[in-house]
């Protein structure tokens, strides 16, 4: 007797689910404005920005110095507050929350890679990656497995006991990437991740970020001046005088 197929459209369901996943909006900015200073000295860093980023998007923020790309990255990362508009991260409207109230959101949903690595100097590579996981309240065993996994992914298993001062810039940035990815965030934000590295190392770091992003299907937003980055990422958000425009070949990024 032929077995009855209780799930005849499995492939179709998978594709539909993947598409839905792909179209899930991870970060949404609605009429977001940000100002610095007061009165006559007030500078508009971002002016009524609307932007939607979906799961798995890889976007590079491009703009002249002072154009507002770092501000946009900071607002997306919930480490700064907008003056107007709404920011929704993974379905959570952050507008009415203080930066301190946003700490759990940053811990669970957002991964940061900084230009100058920003590792904690008194902690080893392993401990730097382990740190955010400890505050997530995970089991010791789960933390250990996860840290070893990400260190493996960034190729630093053999450097796990080294302190930041004992590692090269590229290695430190790899640790920073491992730290950002360890908590499996919905969105990874990288602020000029290759700026402090030589071109070869920078390219390696970019490869790593893109590869890991492809595997994890997290949203990756990079702020960069680096031409190598611009060559590799097709979805580009241009920022000029606080306004954004999207130049995309096949990205769903919307403004």
């Amino acid at each position: 007797m032929e077995a009855k197929d209780y799930w005849p459209n499995r492939q179709q369901w998978k594709e539909k689910n993947a598409l839905q996943m792909k179209n899930t909006v991870i970060a949404k900015l609605v009429d977001v404005s940000k100002y610095y200073g007061n009165g006559a000295a007030r500078v508009t860093a971002l002016d009524r920005v609307n932007l939607s980023l979906c799961r798995g998007d890889i976007v590079v923020l491009v703009g002249l110095s002072g154009s507002g790309k770092s501000t946009l990255l900071h607002l997306l990362g919930c480490i700064d507050k907008q003056d107007k508009g709404n920011i929704i991260i993974d379905g959570i409207d952050t507008s009415s929350m203080s930066l301190e109230q946003l700490a759990p959101l940053r811990l669970n949903k957002i991964g940061f890679v900084f230009q100058s690595f920003n590792l904690i100097p008194v902690l080893t590579a392993y401990e730097n990656v382990e740190l955010p996981l400890l505050f997530k309240g995970l089991e010791k065993k789960a933390i250990s497995e996860r840290v070893h996994e990400v260190l493996d992914e960034v190729g630093l298993q053999d450097r796990k006991k080294h302190y930041p001062r004992e590692m090269s810039g590229g290695q430190q940035q790899r640790v920073a990437i491992a730290r950002a990815l360890a908590g499996q965030p919905s969105i990874v934000l990288a602020d000029e991740p290759t700026a402090n590295l030589d071109s070869k190392t920078g390219e390696g770091i970019l490869d790593l970020l893109l590869n890991l992003n492809q595997q994890k299907k997290s949203t990756l937003v990079i702020s960069s001046h680096d031409s190598v980055v611009l060559d590799r990422i097709k979805s580009v958000v241009h920022i000029l005088d606080g306004r954004v425009s999207v130049d995309t070949e096949h990205s769903p990024v919307q403004t």
Binding site: E100, A103, P104, F112, F114, V122
Partner: protein, 429 residues
Amino acid sequence: MTIIKLINIALRNLFRNSRRTFITVLVSASGFAALAIIAGYMEFTFFGLREMTICKGFTASGGTGHLQVFMQDALQKEERYPLEFGIEVNDKLQSNIESTGNVSFTIPRVEFNGLISNGEKSISFLGMGVDPVKESKLIEYWYALDNMSSKAVRADSSFTQLKNTAPNGVLLGEEMAKALNVKKGSGLMLMSTTVDGAVNVVDVTVAGIVQNTIKSINRYYLVTNIKTAQSLMQTEKVSKIVVILNKTENTDAVRPLLSKKLNGSSAKPLFSVIPWNNLAEYYNSVIDAYRIIFSFSGIIIVVIVFLSCTNTMLMATMERVKEIGTLKAIGISNIWIILMFLFEGFFIGVLSVVAGIALKYIFSWIINNSGFMMPPPPGMTSSYELNIFSAVEFLPWISLLVMVSTTFSGLLTFVKIRKISIVNSLTHV
């Protein structure tokens, strides 16, 4: 696990800037040692003053003893004539007192007053009739206790002079001797009222000129043999019986026992037993003053420790702005970051206590072996050798005080940490 990691980070941060940590610990440890030495000095002073009050006293008539037995009426009523409420001393009473547990011996004393004259000039006096043999025993008792001031300058016991000047010796204060223009061996007359209200005179010989510890007493105070005082007043009674115990610490325990033994279960007790501290006005006022001085010194030291530690913590916060910003950016709440600084303060406190205990014992040993003589306290005439007691019972409290002040200095970083802008701190150099 998170707490353990925070403790781990706090410890590593302490050793990261080891020179600054060392200086902070040194300041806090010095504060600890200073507090402990003050406590040790306070303990020494209080002990010395207590035992001096009991054994030697501040007048030539000797110390208060541990307990004093009076007739109940002597404390409640005005006497119509001298020694109306005096105690009739007999062997039974004396053995009754001396057979009480922890009682070493008793000393009878007679209080009297009158005029002292050299034939040309008369001065009013307050006098005490004492048993020089027993009073010498009490002084020896004090010297035995006072092993910490073995190098102190000690005059020969004035009671020995009194004992050796038969039959009617008298000890005069320096000022009184000057006023009467007499010296050792000079003859004088004591005039007083007898228990019958008549005036009586006895001839006395100056057995010695003494310096009472309290200077102002030197002008009007004199001490004579109890027999002389009793013959002057024509009575066998005494004003009080001074009771000496084997240990001052037994005072509170012996007092009710002795009272019960003397009064039985009588509803109207005949005798009253008063502990030394109720009779030591001078001791109590000096102790109160010293407590205020020592407390004030302690507060100043704690404030210095607190400020020094706060400075270190705030400097550490300023230096680690970028790290604090990074921790905040990766989603670690302010409370965890502040907790990390509290742990740093706490560990500075722990290190300070350990180093402070060592410093305290080193300095105490140096001071105790230096033979340093302290000048006489205000109103007193004799200097004494500086000594620092171990003050072990104070050490847990001082440790707590130092650790609380260093830990709370970490809490002050709270304001700074809360104010640190994540965005600005990430680019902080």
